[in-house]
C-alpha cells in the first residue's frame, strides 16, 4: 500500500516536472486564451451586444461552457496554477544539479574529464612553474582572475567568469512565479470600481465591477474638475482636484490627470472620464420689476433667493431638453437642446405664489401676474468627473517579478559561464606539456575564438619566459608522471 502510494507520488512528480507536461499545459493556455479573445467576453461586452452577436442557443451554449468569461473561470485559474506548479516542479527537479555547478565549481579537472572535454589543447612547456605562470599571465591579460588550485598530486590553474549564468534560468522561473503570485493576490484581495463626482460632492462608497458596493475607510471629495481641448475640439486633458477626507479632516490633496493617479492607503484613484451630468449647476437670471429696477440673481436648483424685502424666487425645475405633450412637460434628453426653467415667485405678505416659466409655456406660465420679469443671463451645466478606483495589493509582486525577469533574461541570453583550466601534465610520449581546456554554457562561437586567443597568448608568454625558466629549472622538481 505504502509502496503503491509512493509510486503514484513519484509518477505525479515526474509528469509534473517533465518539460513535456509544461509544454502541453502552455499549449492549452494558449488555445484557451485565443478562444477568449475570439469569443466576446462578458464583463467587458454589454449584455445586449452579446445578444446581438450570437443566437440565443449559441449564447447559452457559450455561457454553459464558460467561454464568455474565460479569464475569470475557475478552470482557467486552475490551469494557471497547474502551470505554476509545473514550473516549480521542473525547477526543483533540475535546480540541485545547477546549484552544484554554481555552489561547488569544478576547479581541478581529473583525467577522464580532461580526455572528454571537446575544447582543449596541449602546449609544450619547459617546466611546470613556467607553464602555470604563463597561463596565469595570459588569463590576467584577458581580464580573468585565475586561481592556483592545490590538488592532491599537482598544482593547476582555474579561471571562470559569470558563474551566475548557470542559475539564471531559475531567476527567470522564480520571477514568473512572483508575477503569478502578485496576480493571484490581486484576484483574491484586489478590487476595482468606479465613482462619478460633481464639484463639491463627497463619497466613500465605490460601485465595484461585479455590481457590489465597497465602503472605503475614507471619503473622496471633488473640489473641481475640468476638460481642456485642442483647437479641433478633441479633449486634451481631463483633471480633477481631489481631497481625501478621513475622520472629518482633509488628509491629502492632489490634482489628478489621466496617467497620474492619486494614491492613498493602497487605494488608487484614476481619472477615467469627464462629461456633462445633464443637471444644472447655476442659472444666472436678470430680474426686472414693473418699476424698471434691474437685478442679477444666481440660482441653483431648489434654491430660494430674495429679490426684494417682500418677494422670494425659487428655481423649482430645470429641464435641459423639454417637450410638452398631453398637458405635461417632459424631459426628452439630458443635453441642453431646448431648455425650460420653472420659477416660483412668492410674496411673503400675501403668500401668493406665481408660476413663472422660461420660455412662457402655455397652460403653465402665469408670467404676466409676476411682479418681476426674468430673463436668462447665463446657464452653467454641471459636469461629472469619472474616477476609476482600484486596490491591487499584489502589484508589487508583479513589478518585482518583472524587474527580476529582465535581470534573469539578461543573464540567460547575454552572459555565458566561461571556464578555463590549465594543468601541467605529461603527454603520451612523456613530454611535459600544459594541458589547457575550456568550456562555456552558451554562445560557443565567440568562445572558440576566445580559446584560440588564449592559446596564442600562452604560447607567446612562454616564448618570452624561456630564459628565466631555464634558470629556474634546477630548483624545481620535475612533475610526476600522469
Amino acid at each position: 500500500m505504502a509502496a503503491a502510494s509512493s509510486t503514484i507520488r513519484r509518477k505525479v512528480w515526474q509528469s509534473l516536472s517533465s518539460i513535456k507536461t509544461g509544454v502541453v499545459l502552455l499549449i492549452i493556455v494558449v488555445i484557451l486564451s485565443a478562444v477568449g479573445t475570439l469569443v466576446l467576453q462578458r464583463p467587458v461586452t454589454e449584455a445586449d451586444e452579446m445578444q446581438r452577436a450570437y443566437s440565443p442557443q449559441m449564447l447559452s451554449l457559450l455561457d454553459k461552457l464558460g467561454l464568455t468569461d474565460v479569464f475569470h473561470a475557475w478552470w482557467f485559474v486552475a490551469l494557471l496554477i497547474l502551470v505554476s506548479l509545473s514550473i516549480v516542479a521542473a525547477s526543483i527537479d533540475r535546480f540541485p544539479n545547477a546549484w552544484r555547478y554554481f555552489a561547488r565549481p569544478y576547479k581541478s579537472p581529473d583525467r577522464p574529464f580532461r580526455r572528454a572535454l571537446p575544447t582543449q589543447i596541449q602546449i609544450p612547456i619547459p617546466d611546470e612553474e613556467t607553464g602555470l605562470v604563463a597561463a596565469e599571465r595570459s588569463l590576467h591579460g584577458m581580464g580573468f582572475k585565475p586561481e592556483r588550485v592545490v590538488g592532491s598530486d599537482r598544482l593547476s590553474i582555474f579561471a571562470e567568469r559569470n558563474r551566475i549564468s548557470e542559475v539564471a534560468v531559475y531567476i527567470v522561473h522564480a520571477s514568473l512565479l512572483l508575477i503569478f503570485l502578485g496576480g493571484i493576490i490581486d484576484a483574491l484581495w484586489g478590487w476595482r470600481g468606479y465613482v462619478s463626482l460633481t464639484r463639491g460632492q463627497e463619497t466613500s462608497i465605490v460601485g465595484l465591477r461585479d455590481g457590489k458596493q465597497k465602503n472605503l475607510s475614507f471619503a473622496i471629495r471633488c473640489d473641481g474638475a475640468g476638460q481642456e481641448n485642442y483647437k479641433d475640439g478633441t479633449p486634451k486633458k481631463w483633471w480633477s482636484q481631489l481631497v481625501v477626507v478621513e475622520n472629518g479632516r482633509d488628509v491629502q490633496k492632489k490634482e489628478i490627470v489621466v496617467n497620474d493617479p492619486l494614491v492613498y492607503g493602497g487605494v488608487r484613484v484614476y481619472q477615467a472620464s469627464y462629461g456633462p451630468t445633464g443637471k444644472l449647476d447655476k442659472l444666472v437670471v436678470n430680474a426686472s420689476s414693473l418699476a424698471g429696477e434691474k437685478k442679477d440673481l444666481s440660482l441653483s436648483l431648489d434654491q430660494t433667493v430674495a429679490v426684494d424685502a417682500d418677494t422670494d424666487v425659487k428655481l423649482a425645475e430645470f429641464i435641459p431638453d423639454y417637450v410638452v405633450r398631453d398637458n405635461q412637460v417632459y424631459m426628452r434628453s439630458t443635453e441642453v437642446e431646448n431648455p425650460a426653467a420653472h420659477f416660483i415667485v412668492t410674496s411673503k405678505k400675501s403668500g401668493k405664489q406665481v408660476n413663472f416659466w422660461l420660455p412662457p409655456l402655455e397652460g403653465f406660465a402665469e408670467n404676466e401676474q409676476s411682479p418681476y420679469q426674468f430673463t436668462v443671463e447665463d446657464l452653467k451645466m454641471g459636469y461629472y468627473t469619472g474616477l476609476e478606483i482600484s486596490h491591487e495589493p499584489g502589484q508589487w509582486g508583479v513589478w518585482a517579478g518583472v524587474v527580476l525577469m529582465c535581470v534573469g533574461l539578461a543573464f540567460v541570453f547575454y552572459i555565458a559561464h566561461t571556464r578555463f583550466w590549465a594543468v601541467p601534465v605529461r603527454d603520451e610520449k612523456g613530454n611535459l606539456v600544459l594541458w589547457v581546456g575550456g568550456t562555456v554554457n552558451r554562445n560557443r562561437d565567440a568562445f572558440e575564438q576566445r580559446f584560440q586567443d588564449l592559446t596564442e597568448k600562452i604560447k607567446s608568454e612562454l616564448k618570452e619566459m624561456k630564459p628565466a625558466a631555464a634558470f629556474r629549472r634546477k630548483w624545481l622538481r620535475s612533475p610526476e608522471k600522469n
Partner: protein, 466 residues
C-alpha cells in the same frame, strides 16, 4: 522557357536595368520637382514620402533584377537607392515628429511610417553586416506596399487623447517595433535557412500556393449573393469608414468581383492540387505542370488586383443594409489589398527560388550559420517582447488602474511571448535545431503578425489607436 531566356543573358547586359531604373527615378523626381516649384514648398512630408516611394521602388526593381539575373552590380545600385529612400524616409519621420510634437507612433499611419523606416534600416544592416544580399527582394516590396497604404490613410496630425499622453507610450511602442522587427528578421532568416537546408523546391511550391489559397479563401469570406464582393463603405470627406450604428460597419457590394476572386482561387489552388497528385503518384512531371500553373496564376492575380484597384477606388455601389449608393475606397480594405499584393509577391518569390536556386544557395550564408543567426535574433527578440509587455502593463496600470485586463491585444502579446518561450525551451533543453526550430520561428512570426494586424482589425478591444 523563362529560365532558358534568363540564362542566355550575358552578365554585361545587366546595365540596362540600372539605366532604366535610374532614368525612371530621375524622371519621376523631376516631375515631382516641377510640381513643387509650382506650389513652392519643397521639404514637406508628402514630398519626402513620395521621394522615398520612388527610391524604394527603384531599389525593389534592382533587388528583384538581381534575384532573377544574379548580376552583382544591381545590388550595389539597389543599396544606393535604399540609402536614398531611407534618407527621404528619415526626413518624413523627422518632419512628422516636429509637426506633431510627439514621436510618430500615435496612429496607424504614423506606425506604418516608423515601420517602413525600421524595415529599410534592417535591410541595410542585414545586407552590410550579415551579407544577406537578397533580403531586399523581400523587404523592399513590403516597404513599397507600406508607403502606398500610407497614402490611403488619414494623414492629419491627430492630437493625442489623454490616455496616450505618457512617456510610457513611446517606450512601449518603440520596444514593440524593435521586437516585431527582430521577429520579422528571424522569420526571413528561418525561410532562407529552409532554402539552404536543401528543402525541396516542391515543398516551397506547396507552401506558397497554400498561402495564396489562404489569402483568396480569406477574401471570399466576403462573397455575397450573385457573385458580388462586399467591402466596407468609405466616406471620402471624413476619410473614415461608414457606420450603420456604433460598432457596426456598413458594407457595399461590388457586383461580379466575387466571381473573379473565385476564379482566381481555383487557379491558385491548381499548383497545390497538382503537387498533391504528383506526390501521391510519385510522378515528378506533375511538378513541372504545377510550376507552369504558378506562372498562369500570377497573371490572373495581377488581373484580380488591377480590377480590384479600379473598382474599389471609384464608383458608387448599393448596400444590402441601407438604401442608396455608397462609395468605398482602397483604404477601407487594407487587408484585401495587402492580401492581393502579398499573394502576387509570394508567388514571384517562389518563381525566383525556382529559377535561381543555385545562385541563391551560392550567395546566402550556410545553413548552420543561418540556424545560429535565427536563434540569436530570437534571443534579442524575446527580451524585447518581455520589456514591451512589461512597459505596456506599467502604462496600463497608470492609466486604467490595472496592469492586466485580458484585453485581446494583451492576450495575444502574451501568446506571442509564450510561443517564443516554447521555442527557447525546445531549443535549449531539447536541442531542437534546424528544420524544427525554423518551423517554430515561422509560427512565432505568424502569431506576431496576427497580434499586430489581426487583433487591431478583427478583434474588439482597448488598443483602438494602433
Amino acid at each position: 522557357m523563362a529560365r532558358a531566356r534568363v540564362e542566355q543573358q550575358p552578365a554585361t547586359t545587366g546595365n540596362t536595368l540600372i539605366v532604366v531604373v535610374g532614368l525612371g527615378i530621375a524622371f519621376l523626381l523631376f516631375m515631382a520637382f516641377l510640381n513643387v516649384v509650382k506650389s513652392g514648398n519643397l521639404l514637406n512630408e508628402s514630398n519626402l514620402l513620395y521621394a522615398a516611394l520612388i527610391f524604394y521602388a527603384g531599389a525593389g526593381a534592382l533587388y528583384l533584377g538581381f534575384g532573377v539575373t544574379g548580376t552583382d552590380s544591381y545590388v550595389r545600385f539597389a543599396s544606393i537607392a535604399t540609402w536614398a529612400g531611407l534618407a527621404a524616409n528619415t526626413g518624413a519621420v523627422a518632419h512628422r515628429w516636429y509637426e506633431a510634437g510627439h514621436p510618430p507612433f500615435a496612429s496607424i499611419y504614423e506606425m506604418l511610417l516608423s515601420f517602413v523606416w525600421t524595415l529599410a534600416v534592417l535591410t541595410i544592416v542585414a545586407e552590410k553586416k550579415f551579407q544577406v544580399k537578397v533580403i531586399g527582394t523581400v523587404t523592399m516590396p513590403v516597404a513599397i506596399v507600406g508607403v502606398v497604404l500610407m497614402q490611403l490613410l488619414r494623414t492629419d496630425v491627430h492630437p493625442l487623447v489623454p490616455a496616450l499622453q505618457s512617456t510610457w507610450l513611446h517606450v512601449h511602442v518603440t520596444l514593440a517595433m524593435l521586437a516585431y522587427a527582430a521577429c520579422a528578421l528571424s522569420f526571413a532568416l528561418a525561410m532562407v535557412f529552409l532554402i539552404q537546408d536543401k528543402m525541396k523546391t516542391e515543398t516551397f511550391l506547396a507552401a506558397t500556393s497554400l498561402f495564396t489559397v489562404g489569402v483568396y479563401a480569406g477574401i471570399l469570406t466576403r462573397f455575397e449573393k450573385w457573385g458580388g464582393l462586399s467591402l466596407i463603405a468609405w466616406n471620402a470627406q471624413d476619410k473614415a469608414e461608414v457606420f450603420v450604428q456604433k460598432g457596426v460597419r456598413l458594407f457595399v457590394v461590388i457586383p461580379d468581383l466575387g466571381w473573379l476572386m473565385l476564379l482566381v482561387l481555383l487557379v491558385v489552388a491548381a499548383p497545390f492540387i497538382l503537387y498533391l497528385i504528383g506526390r501521391v503518384k510519385k510522378d515528378e512531371s506533375f511538378y513541372t505542370v504545377a510550376n507552369r500553373a504558378v506562372f498562369v496564376s500570377i497573371l490572373l492575380q495581377v488581373l484580380a488586383l488591377a480590377v480590384f484597384l479600379l473598382r474599389a477606388s471609384s464608383g458608387l455601389y448599393s448596400s444590402l443594409d441601407a438604401e442608396g449608393l455608397y462609395a468605398t475606397s482602397l483604404a477601407a480594405s487594407p487587408f484585401i489589398l495587402s492580401g492581393l499584393v502579398g499573394g502576387i509577391f509570394n508567388s514571384l518569390l517562389y518563381l525566383l527560388l525556382l529559377w535561381r536556386r543555385a545562385d541563391l544557395e551560392r550567395l546566402l550564408p550556410t545553413a548552420d550559420n543561418l540556424d545560429r543567426i535565427t536563434y540569436k535574433t530570437i534571443c534579442i527578440a524575446f527580451p524585447l517582447l518581455t520589456l514591451m509587455i512589461a512597459a505596456g502593463a506599467y502604462w496600463a496600470n497608470r492609466t486604467w488602474g490595472s496592469y492586466w485586463s485580458w484585453d485581446p491585444k494583451e492576450t495575444w502579446a502574451a501568446i506571442t511571448w509564450l510561443v517564443y518561450a516554447g521555442y527557447l525551451h525546445m531549443r535549449i533543453t531539447r536541442g531542437w535545431r534546424g528544420r524544427r526550430a525554423a518551423y517554430f520561428a515561422i509560427l512565432g512570426f505568424a502569431v506576431v503578425m496576427f497580434t499586430f494586424f489581426g487583433v487591431t482589425y478583427l478583434l474588439p478591444g482597448m488598443h483602438a489607436y494602433a
